[in-house]
Each structure stands twice: as structure tokens, then as C-alpha cells.
Point group: C2
Chain length 190, copies 2
Amino acid sequence: MPTIYLAGPEVFLPDARDVMSEKRRLARSFGFEPTGPGSDENQAPVARLTADAIYRRNEDAMRRADVCLANITPFRGISADPGTVYEIGFMIALGKKVWAYTNHPDDYGSRVRSIWYGGLEIDESSGRPRGPDGMAIENHGKADNLMIDLGIEAIGGRVVRALALPADPARELAIFAEALRQLANKKGLQ
Amino acid sequence: MPTIYLAGPEVFLPDARDVMSEKRRLARSFGFEPTGPGSDENQAPVARLTADAIYRRNEDAMRRADVCLANITPFRGISADPGTVYEIGFMIALGKKVWAYTNHPDDYGSRVRSIWYGGLEIDESSGRPRGPDGMAIENHGKADNLMIDLGIEAIGGRVVRALALPADPARELAIFAEALRQLANKKGLQ
């Protein structure tokens, strides 16, 4: 049974234990053995571990995992949780299979416009859109910064996006389950 | 001469060419051959490249580089540019030497409180601080999400932080130069 590293910011939720338990249950139902941040249920809660111990536990789990499924739903801003992004880059460089999903349907450039610039005028005159502060806005239509999407695509992974924003993007698991289903159907994994 | 990958979001600046040119000049003055996003001065501007071509160029440069110096100054929010975070994780997994610098003096938890929650009341009762929405706040005193800082520290790198917020955090290069100086002084690099 392949081991799947469930990257994502769920560990910060007030009901982290419940949400992560359901994610692990779903992963098992598709034939994966789950691991990842906070997934060692019998260990000390993350709050009691030092930063160094948390890092080493996560790095060890990444090295032992066969595949990563990362939650890149925007977290406290316009982009994915930075710890999750670190893990995506790390596991791609290790040669692991990496997929991602997001509960936000909009691409990164749209979120920069709607959330960061909040409807302010965007300069489209140069072929490269820029905010009122002159900063360029990525317009490649990707779910997040292109390094994330293209890194995943370059190794044959997929970024699975919600079609509409769910009522509770931090906890919705329909797209997570859909990504697991697609991953389980890919040949060569099991 | 070691090749240094200059990771950071400067490519989005309106005066990207000038700022990146000065970063390359400084890197050379400390004995490094610079590479990284937008650093191939004779190539097509990034706006004319496809996302796939940009990714492949950056990944190739990361694989060829000896060391990475990443600008993790917060970009459009409370954390580092996600493309830069991807590159930090990627190069650490490749076994490269990775350092970072930030022009923001505050740790990540402080920025979550001051910028994201904007002075709202934080619940400190459980030993793990939480915002009014119940979400936990990292309190490890690191410059960004602990995966970034600890990943760098685990391989013997350093995160060099400004002592005070400069007038222009997106362009200030004093801490960048200081990080280059410290890197150049470390044995075994050259």
C-alpha cells in the first residue's frame, strides 16, 4: 500500500484532530497509508514539540512517503500555506509523485486582483498586468505561483481545483476525495 | 567560483532589471556567480516566456547552482513569496547549501498577530495562541513558517534578519549584502 504524505495547514484548525482524522480515513479508503504533519496520532501534540522536532518528523515522513497530496487552498492570504509549499518543492526534488488540490476555484492572478488589490485599477497596457504599486501580476492562469503548478505538472502530477468556492474552504473535503480518486486510478502507483 | 541561485520576488518589481542587476553585482563582489529567476540577461523577458519555459529555466538553474540565497521578506501578505519558498524546499532536498534573508525584523507569529489579525484579541489560555477564528498561531519565533527556517537550519544554513524594518523592504539590500558576506566567510564553499 503506497504511503501518502497529506500536506496542508489543517494542523492550525481548532478542530484539527477531527478534520485530519477524516482526511486519513478517506486516504485509507482509496488504498493509501496516510502520513504527514500531525498524523502520528499517538505522539505528543504539536504544541508540545520543539520546532526542530516538528521539522525532523515531517522531513522523515516526506522521505519515507511514496506520494504527496497537498492542500494548496489559500491560507491567511492569497496563496497556499508556506509550510505546504516548502513540502511540495522538497518532495518534487526528491523525485516523489506530488499532486495538489485547492478549494478555491480562481487562479492566482485573479486572487491577486480581487483580494490583494481589492478591485483597484490594474494597468493592462504593457501585456504584463501591474497593480497600482507597479508590481507585476502573474497571468498564467495557474492555481498559485507558477513554480508550484508547473513543478507538479513537470513530474506528471495534477492540481485539482474546485469548480466553485465551498461554504467552508478550510474543511471541505470533496475535492480532496476527488484528487485521491484520480490518484488511485493512475497506473503504476500500487 | 560557486554559483549562487538568487531566489526572490524581485522579478515582479516595476524596476526589476535595476534591482536584480544590483543584486548580481553584489553577489559577484563577494565571489559568487549569480543565477536564478530573471537572471539570464540576454534571454527573452519573463513576460514573453510560457509558464512551462520559466519553470524549466529556474529548475535547471537550481540544479546547476551550488548555493541558494533566498529573499523571504514578506511578499503581498504575511509570508515569503510562494515561488521562493518552493525553491528553498527544492534546493534543500537536492542537498544544496541554502541561506535566506528577510528585511522584516518580526517573527512569523508576530506578523500573524499584527498584520493578519490586526490587533484583534488573541486567546493565550491553552499554551498555543489562537486568533478570534480559533486558528492556531505558530509561536516558535522563526522568520516564517517553521518548515522554512528549520529546513535551512537543519542543513547548516542561516536565516539573516533585519534588525529594523527599512523604508523600502522590497528593494533594501543591506541585509542581502550582509548574508553574502557571512556566506562568503563560511569555509568549504570556495
